[in-house]
């Protein structure tokens, strides 16, 4: 049995768990190849025009998997991974959208509700609903959850050590040759953005690597522990009620208020709803702290050159601030 997992959205966060989970259940796991122009175009064809790019890309990945002849496509309904917090409504209606708008999904949809009180979404209870469909026993599900959780924890540990998600994925693949986290002697930039924007190389045009090539130390929210992310959020009267937006805000507050970075870049997708509000909060925070802040908004039409120019200009400006007047950068 072949189970396809779209290489998009929260695959960048929970992918290692899901992959291991289905492998343990005895299925052959097919992960769609990374995003390219064709995937995006296919996705656009079946999506509502106004919807945000990450969802269009997700739909493209689903089509890619269907084409490769999988038996099931795994599309979980991401409802909540934190008490009192949710996901963007589009995540909560993801299987509904796929089932009713992508031709061919209806019979091959494998879905379950992720409704958890914490980030650890390994409670077998949530996964029993798919046991019947895959003809496995509940016991096997429990075992698979445990095995998957182990892998995921390893994955997160790599990330918390200062590696990007891409590097953490690499580390999981070659456990014997785990690279040390990259440390660059230079200004530090907080790179804020959802994992599926920042680490999708097609979307972000590999902005992390670009920054590093310019001699920048990159800090992202997944390198910070949950406790650090919560420190300043706790004091808010009402924080954002989307888990990952809240994490980004927590990360940003830590960066701005502890002055632990020299600049902040916010990577966001065109039409992202939560980011419209998050962006405003970041803007206000930047004004108060005086730390430079830039928003990079990307969509399916973005060209590479404009990103390079803007990132370079931002970095030059940061470097100039630290160099005495008259010296060369």
């Amino acid at each position: 049995m072949k189970i396809g997992i779209p290489n998009a959205l929260l695959y960048y966060y929970y992918g290692p768990f899901w992959t291991e989970f289905f492998k343990e259940l005895g299925a052959e796991v097919v992960v769609s190849h990374s995003t390219d122009k064709k995937t995006v175009d296919m996705g656009i064809g079946v999506s509502v025009p106004e919807i945000c790019v990450p969802i269009k890309i997700f739909n493209g990945h689903v089509l890619q998997l269907l084409k490769s002849g999988v038996d099931y496509v795994f599309i979980p309904r991401m409802a909540s991974v934190e008490k009192g917090k949710y996901f963007c409504p589009k995540f909560m209606g993801l299987p509904d959208m796929a089932r009713h708008s992508i031709p061919g999904v209806a019979g091959k949809l494998l879905t379950m509700d992720v409704q958890s009180r914490s980030e650890n979404i390994f409670s077998p209870k949530m996964y029993y609903s798919i046991a019947e469909k895959l003809a496995v026993s509940d016991k096997r599900i429990e075992l698979a959850c445990r095995k998957g959780a182990e892998v995921w924890r390893k994955f997160r540990k790599l990330g918390l050590g200062g590696r990007t998600i891409a590097e953490a994925f690499e580390g999981l693949k070659n456990p014997n040759r785990i690279k040390e986290p990259v440390k660059i002697d230079g200004p530090k930039i907080g790179l804020l953005g959802y994992v599926y924007d920042v680490y999708d190389e097609f979307v972000s045009m590999n902005v992390t690597e670009r920054l590093r090539q310019l001699g920048i130390n990159v800090l992202t929210f997944e390198m910070l522990s949950n406790r650090e992310l919560k420190r300043y959020i706790k004091k808010m009267k009402k924080s954002l009620f989307w888990t990952f937006s809240d994490k980004l805000l927590g990360g940003a507050y830590k960066m701005f208020r502890e002055r632990s970075v020299d600049g902040v870049i916010h990577v966001t997708a065109f039409g992202c709803g939560p980011d419209a509000f998050l962006g405003k909060l970041l803007e206000l925070e930047s004004e108060d702290s005086g730390i430079p802040f830039m928003t990079v908004r990307i969509d399916e039409h973005t060209g590479e050159n404009h990103l390079q120019t803007r990132v370079e200009a931002f970095v030059d400006m940061l470097k100039r601030k630290t160099v005495p007047v008259g010296d060369a950068i």
Binding site: E50, G84, P89, K90, M97, S101, W242, C272, A276, F277
Partner: protein, 363 residues
């Protein structure tokens, strides 16, 4: 301290509520292009349209001296739950000394809501608040009832404009009410007034009914949705909205109404409540088609999160139930002429297909 509120639907009722409790009220002006421009200028570019409209609305209210704005909020996953926070920050940033009292979900923050309630109660006795609440609720429901009623009459009125004129008179007579008895009398008078309007005799089979579903702000507030109901009526169709404030209050405060049933109908398409009214809207479309409506207009603010999900599944419902649906995205950029053309074409198509069905039946 002057009190104000967002402009949404029959604002007369909110005004009455505050006045009855003895507060000085600023009624915000009906949203115009200026309101929307003001709001857009002071909002994040990608914020949703209702946010911008309310922003402009609040600014205009503050300019007229409002010090406290009372509104309802929510707690996700739709963005409306965070409106209050950002609105207040922005208004303060602009130099207005204003406070927003937002009632969030009662289940989540009972203590906070109770303390807000007592603040608004002020020196009024609890008994007075309850009796006022009853009168207001009555007014709300009555006005909704007439609102619904006249939009089934306008297409057939013999004297153009007589229904809307009558509705305006009804509103004014309710504005003069202070007690339950007066309200009841106003209700009887209003009923008589509506009954006296002359209507053309139209065969039941020739009537065209169109439902209006969508995001609550753009469905209810006629000043920002191109006056959709009256527009449809002027094209010879009866129109009914999926949202009325009275029903909203009934469901959210008393758990009454048809909403549960509607949610059940939407289950096949959107399994869980994903915020906003996406699931309800999907259910309403199914409901309209079961009740024999001829078409549905689906209104959404540009890039509204929950409505994008319902927009994605609507083509399937339309196919399953054979009911035509027209989706219109509304924002500060939408031009009336463009939407008008689409609505006219939509109504023409419905009329044609209905005529064809009829002639096929008689043949």
């Amino acid at each position: 301290m002057k009190y104000s509120f967002p402009y949404l639907g029959n604002v007369l009722v909110y005004k009455k509520l505050m006045e009855m409790l003895g507060y000085e009220v600023v009624v915000p002006p009906r949203p115009t292009q200026k309101t929307i421009d003001l709001g857009t200028k002071n909002s994040p570019e990608f914020a949703c349209f209702p946010y911008k409209m309310l922003m402009g609305n609040y600014i205009e209210a503050c300019e007229q001296g409002a010090g406290i704005i009372v509104s309802s909020g929510g707690h996700g996953p739709c963005r409306a739950g965070f409106y209050g926070e950002l609105h207040e920050r922005t208004l303060r940033h602009m130099g207005f000394d204003v406070e927003l009292i937002i009632f969030d979900s009662i289940k989540r923050d009972l203590r906070g809501d109770v303390s807000k309630f007592f603040r608004l109660k002020g020196k009024n006795s609890l008994r007075k608040v309850v009796s006022t609440g009853r009168i207001i609720l009555r007014m709300l429901k009555d006005l909704d009832e007439f609102d619904k009623k006249i939009h089934t009459m306008i297409p057939y009125e013999t004297v153009h404009g007589s229904c809307l004129k009558a509705f305006e008179e009804i509103r004014m007579s309710y504005d003069r009410c202070w007690t339950m008895k007066e309200t009841e009398m106003a209700y009887e008078e209003a009923k008589e007034l509506l009954a006296s309007i002359k209507l053309e005799e139209v065969d039941e089979r020739d009537k065209i009914r169109i439902g209006v579903v969508g995001e609550i702000f753009v469905v209810i507030e006629s000043s920002i949705n191109m006056d959709i109901e009256n527009t449809l009526c002027s094209l010879g169709c009866e129109a009914e909205r999926s949202q009325y404030i009275g029903e909203w209050v009934d469901h959210n405060f008393f758990g009454k109404g048809r909403e549960k049933e509607i949610l059940k109908m939407g289950e096949d398409y959107i399994k869980i409540i994903i915020g906003g009214h996406a699931k309800q809207n999907v259910g309403h479309i199914v409901d309209y088609s079961k009740r024999g409506f001829d078409g549905v207009v689906h209104l959404m603010p540009f890039a509204c999160l929950p409505e994008l999900v319902s927009q994605s599944v609507i083509p399937r419902i339309s196919e399953d139930y054979g009911i035509p649906v027209l989706t219109l995205a509304i924002d500060e950029q939408s031009g009336k002429a463009n939407s008008m053309t689409r609505i006219e074409a939509f109504v023409d198509l419905i009329k044609n297909s209905k005529r064809k069905k009829m002639s096929a039946k008689t043949a």
